[in-house]
Symmetry: C2
Subunit: 119 residues, 2 copies
């Protein structure tokens, strides 16, 4: 379905197990058996997730037929982060406006509080 | 399918048209008709994409039944960027190693070049 790299990356990241696998591999390469352990998942289920990650270029597998360690390939993660970062200004602006609004509300409340006491 | 917010966000971003809609809305809210124009898409197709974005909390729609402008909601984008940013150290490290390797190769080549000339 996903034809471009960025779509394939985001589709691969749209699953908590696959994100957990990425987090695990960030601390070093390991075998499929080691990966499967903490997830209490069948090997075919883990293999399916690994295939999605591999097709998106987020992991690579060792060549050894017996022990094919999985290794994180961070380049697509960088592309995904770079894409989302474009909107940083936008969310920072939104937070700034919220803060200004809250300060105005606080100032009004204070003023109102003083007026109430004067009555 | 996606039960958690981050999975819903990534699934919504896994489509070039939906990312283009986000890019368009980053410069200001607009109507569905205005959004549909540059994409040469049927209104139902655009509406379907907007529904996915709305369900993921990436956009909100105005209340007016006649003109329901779409507006970008950047909070989920921040969450997605924050998640990917965790791996920045990793890809920076990988690039550093690549650079070191290239410099070593260059140094070897230089040395080899001098030796060849001596013969």
């Amino acid at each position: 379905m996903a034809t471009d790299q960025l779509s394939a990356t985001f589709a691969a990241l749209a699953d908590p197990t696959r994100r957990a696998i990425i987090a695990r591999l960030a601390s070093g390469e390991c075998s499929v058996t080691e990966l499967a352990e903490p997830f209490e998942m069948s090997m075919p289920a883990v293999s399916k997730h690994l295939r999605v990650l591999e097709q998106a270029g987020l992991i690579s597998r060792g060549r050894d037929a017996q022990y094919r360690p999985c290794r994180l390939e961070p380049a697509p993660l960088k592309e995904a982060a770079d894409w989302a970062e474009r909107y940083r200004a936008l969310w920072a602006q939104r937070l700034d406006r919220l803060e200004t609004y809250l300060q105005e509300m606080k100032a009004k409340e204070k003023k109102h509080g003083r007026q109430s006491r004067r009555k």
